[in-house]
Subunit: 362 residues, 2 copies
């Protein structure tokens, strides 16, 4: 991490030098009647969002914006937007002159037996959704734009340059998904190199990913502020995930036990429990009551280092992963424990109208 | 690499947005009578160069300079300057408003049995030398500033985040120095994150390092132009190296056989030889005539991929490594071969007055 400032306290100002409050007009925006996403020549434009597929095109736009003193806020996504994604876009929109959302299902973070091919894709819907949130640019590169010359087939040649964050990536989801977080770290470093944002927004639902990205940014002294935004839940408490749409109705119903396990854990913490092992078992026991749900892990770890804890102290992450049918789901809560007591953060629930919680800096 | 532009052709313009030809005054420069390098509070200043040890201090200066429209040229070094280093500084000085030289002997790129402790150090001389070349800022961070919380002892904890460039790093010096180029790639990515240069200058003497850095920048889409500068030789042809000062007079004399081997190779190429194996043996045979010199390798590879060649074609790197006493030395030449003939680049020789060759973009 930057020794001058743990995490990216100072790094956040690296690009902010350009943050004079310039008016937001100036980026080319057009309204077109119909999306034609098959045409890759020139920008595809919908509402206010420009869709770009090429690194060079994106850079040209962002270089011009920065030269005019504008800041760039960045939301990296794999698409298939839900209210969690939308809350990130809103958080970025509130703070930046230019908001870029990337939409890229990164093959490098999927194992050979994982659901890369089944990962939900809805480009047209995502572009419309981003535009509705006031996003300026949707960056949707083809795989060959991000990894030219790379063959992701089982016998293929992987990318030569990779970024690895050791220590944080072996446990939790890293156990079941070897190489996953190296893939995340590599594509995030690359997207930061392409976009050059002053700030990037990540959901706290992917708690391990957020810890890895924070560490990556700190260790490589990348000039990007990382903001973690609250986990967003459905009205029934289920954590929003693009993968939820791959659940059958019965599986979707059964999967609510994951949230109930965490809620039960929250209750015992609020009642005074500080033993990490007991908390872990309380959460796990709830999840194992549901036959359609196969618990993969329930862990209680330090939120920054992800090291297992014996006693709840400081910023604590309670993380669970489970398989429901073919779908792997994760959920978590954070607990801040000090001498005065405990504060549990289970995220925010959306109202049935779809109003998601706004994101606050971590 | 950035698909939009092989290598960093487009990337080079990422920071150049700020390259309006502003006047160069404005960075704080002071003249002081004596260096006091023990005082780490506040900048140490000599002639025109400000010496900074802290990431935060460096960023503050460079953010201010960039906000005024200035470009930053960067020369990463391990210190112990010779005319090769000075040629990089001159190349940067000729093109940029602000020139930063880093001076950091990176423990991460030294193996446990290597010469980290014996690597020549001359901070006061280096700072004076940089100032004489018109360098604005010397960034000389302590190890704990670059790798906080890291213990480089044999039983210690290595840094969590590392950058690796596979494929280019297994052969040549990578065989004898496992992990070396991961250490280089990691510190270069980090220094780029700290300095944010528009352009960085590397010597072609470290040809494998240059290939690794080019690939790193391309693969991670870092917005930095990489310029390779000619290998600089002593008047007798010996490639300049900070390690040369660790040679005894007899070893120094014997080591000139390395250059003579390459020169002999150049002669046979100019006479029409295109067989890579024969060229390799010609070079190796010259080096093995000197009993004080132990040849480690003589290889003929493609200059960009470092893949071994059978026939000379395109941009070719002829690289050698040898041990002379306890000192490991490397040298190389590049050969451009096409249907019209061959052009050999052995670098530039300095005149006895110390005037090194100027650097041209690759």
């Amino acid at each position: 991490m930057c020794a001058a400032a743990p995490y990216n306290y100072n790094c956040r100002n690296h690009y902010r030098r350009l943050s004079s409050p310039a008016p937001r007009e100036g980026l080319e925006r057009k309204v077109v009647a119909a999306l034609d996403l098959s045409a890759s020549k020139g920008p595809i434009v919908v509402e206010r969002a420009v869709v770009l597929e090429r690194v060079g095109d994106l850079r040209a736009q962002l270089d011009a914006a920065r030269a005019q003193g504008r800041t760039v806020g960045f939301v990296p996504t794999m698409g298939a937007f839900h209210d969690g994604h939308r809350s990130l876009m809103r958080a970025a929109r509130a703070r930046h002159d230019v908001v870029v959302v990337s939409l890229f299902v990164n093959p490098l973070q999927f194992g050979p037996a994982e659901d890369l091919d089944r990962y939900p894709k809805d480009l047209a819907g995502d572009v419309a959704g981003a535009a509705a949130e006031g996003v300026d640019i949707v960056f949707a590169p083809p795989v060959e734009e991000m990894y030219p010359g790379t063959d992701f087939s089982p016998d293929g040649a992987p990318p030569l340059t990779t970024v690895s964050v050791a220590g944080l990536t072996g446990g939790l989801c890293g156990s079941a998904r070897p190489g996953h977080f190296d893939g995340v770290a590599t594509v995030v470093a690359k997207l930061f190199g392409i976009v050059g944002p002053s700030t990037a927004y990540f959901g706290k639902k992917d708690a391990q990913q957020l810890a890895v990205v924070r560490r990556l940014v700190a260790d490589l002294c990348l000039p990007v502020e990382i903001v973690g935004c609250p986990l967003v839940r459905e009205a029934d408490g289920m954590a929003m995930s693009s993968r939820n749409r791959n659940l059958s109705p019965a599986e979707r119903e059964a999967a609510t036990v994951i949230h109930r396990g965490l809620q039960t854990g929250a209750d015992v913490v609020m009642a005074g429990e500080r033993d990490a092992g007991k908390l872990r078992r309380v959460v796990a026991n709830v999840l194992t009551t549901e036959p359609l749900v196969r618990l993969e892990y329930a862990e209680v770890v330090a939120a920054d280092t992800l090291s297992p804890l014996e006693v709840l102290d400081g910023e604590v992450l309670v993380a669970v992963a489970a398989r429901v049918g073919d779908v792997r789901l994760i959920d978590n809560m954070t607990v801040r424990v000090d001498g005065r007591g405990a504060v549990v953060d289970l995220g925010v629930n959306v109202a049935p109208t779809g109003e998601g919680g706004l994101c606050a800096a971590r």
